[in-house]
Amino acid sequence: MPLSDPDLSAIWLTFKLASLTTLILLLVGTPIAWWLARTRSRLRGPIGAVVALPLVLPPTVIGFYLLLTLGPHGFIGQATQALGLGTVVFSFSGLVIGSVIYSMPFVVQPLQNAFAAIGNRPLEVAATLRASPWDSFFSVVLPQARPGFITASILGFAHTVGEFGVVLMIGGNIPDKTRVVSVQIYDHVEAMEYMQAHWLAGAMLVFSFLVLLALYSNRQGKPGWS
């Protein structure tokens, strides 16, 4: 077996992290994307820019400031301690929080485009047919924005799998809790275990290719892709 037990547990951990992050991002990102796509508020620009910020900031920079704010002296860390939760740095929940922030634009932007592409007309029609806003959201918007949701999920998942800098800064490299595949590969290289690094990286490469293949084969000529 070319992949060792620690490699396999890193793969499993990465899978868990990416799935959970994607799920949370769909729940959190949908209302944000909906608001960004439809609002005429002056805050649209600033909020949109904040959501897109993780695209520009280097991951290690995001990670470093998460380490500071989530840590015992940071304001979020102080709040979680006051609530009796302790701090979330060096834990799986900490990684989930970091990944949600880091992958946010990859989920929000395809959704926002998909919602914007639907336009007002279908919603107005639904309203004249006496559909409540919730009803029209679930029976009109969701089906029409389906390609957008698929794109958002795949991008959010894939981007979290490839995450390195944030995890490096707030993870602490703990087996089964924070040691994800990208960190494990880095470890192998640092320890000059090139063969193990090659195997694990190869597995990641094949996986990424399959994800992108699914994305591009599925996506031909449908709206919602930015």
Partner: protein, 255 residues
């Protein structure tokens, strides 16, 4: 008029290029890969070195394992100040260095450190009392200070007790960061990171007795790329000299 302005600019540019060229011809430049734990001392040494010899020192800081990979793949480093003695020896055996240039420039000291004043006692009892949440160490597979930390825990028979509390930094800089931000109450760091002129600069520390771990010998070597560069030779000689060794010792290294 336009013509003259552009000609003037060209002449100026040429003069500048010539001047830059002359600059490098007079005083050499040496590219150095420096182990992260030696960041502060090399910056202090660089100042004196540049003043005394006229050569310029260009340093890159990083993890020793990472430098090894980069050097094997054509990185432009001319001198390598490693955090261990095995990596330079390996490079030497593989024919990537100038034969006979390898020497120990510093012996690292390990310290158990907390950013909190009075948290670490002078004997390291805090480790055995086990009241903390997280103990930061450097990755023992890649960083010599990390390996030394695991040897200390082994010697103190604390390996089992601390297992669930260990958090790993990829190198000693990150380990220090975990402890200095308070995310880990305790960390095994390099004394050089927290020490200046005979005392610990902040927080509290236990300077780990040398007999609890194998010596952290840090070796330097002139790499193949630096074999014809007089500045590389000058730097290595300078590191062995009294001025540099005094600086190295002032950061808590042995020699």
């Amino acid at each position: 008029m336009k013509m003259r302005a552009s000609r003037l600019a060209t002449t100026g540019l040429c003069a500048l290029l010539v001047a830059l060229n002359l600059g490098t011809a007079w005083a050499g430049e040496v590219q150095v890969a420096v182990a992260a734990n030696f960041t502060a001392p090399i910056q202090a040494i660089a100042k004196d070195f540049e003043q005394d010899t006229g050569h310029k020192l260009v340093s890159s800081f990083g993890a020793t394992g990472q430098f090894y990979t980069q050097i094997k793949n054509g990185a432009p480093f001319e001198v390598f100040l490693a955090a261990d003695d095995t990596t330079p020896a390996k490079l030497e055996a593989e024919g990537d260095t100038v034969k006979g240039s390898r020497f120990t420039y510093a012996i690292g000291t390990l310290a158990l450190w907390s950013a909190k004043e009075g948290y670490v006692d002078a004997k390291g009892q805090v480790l055995k009392d086990n009241q903390y949440q997280h103990l930061a160490i450097a990755n023992p597979k890649a960083a010599p200070y990390g390996l030394a930390a695991t040897q200390v825990l082994d010697k103190l028979k604390l390996t089992e007790a601390t297992k669930a509390k260990l958090v790993e930094g990829q190198n000693i800089t990150q380990t220090f960061q975990f402890a200095s931000t308070g995310n880990a109450e305790l960390g095994f760091v390099a004394l050089s990171q927290i020490y200046k002129d005979g005392k610990v600069t902040s927080g509290s520390a236990w300077i780990v007795p040398a007999e609890l771990h194998d010596p952290i010998k840090q070796d330097a070597v002139i790499l193949d790329k630096g074999k014809d560069n007089p500045a590389a030779k000058a730097l290595v000689d300078y590191l062995k000299g009294p001025k540099a060794t005094a600086i190295i010792k002032s950061y808590g290294y042995e020699l």
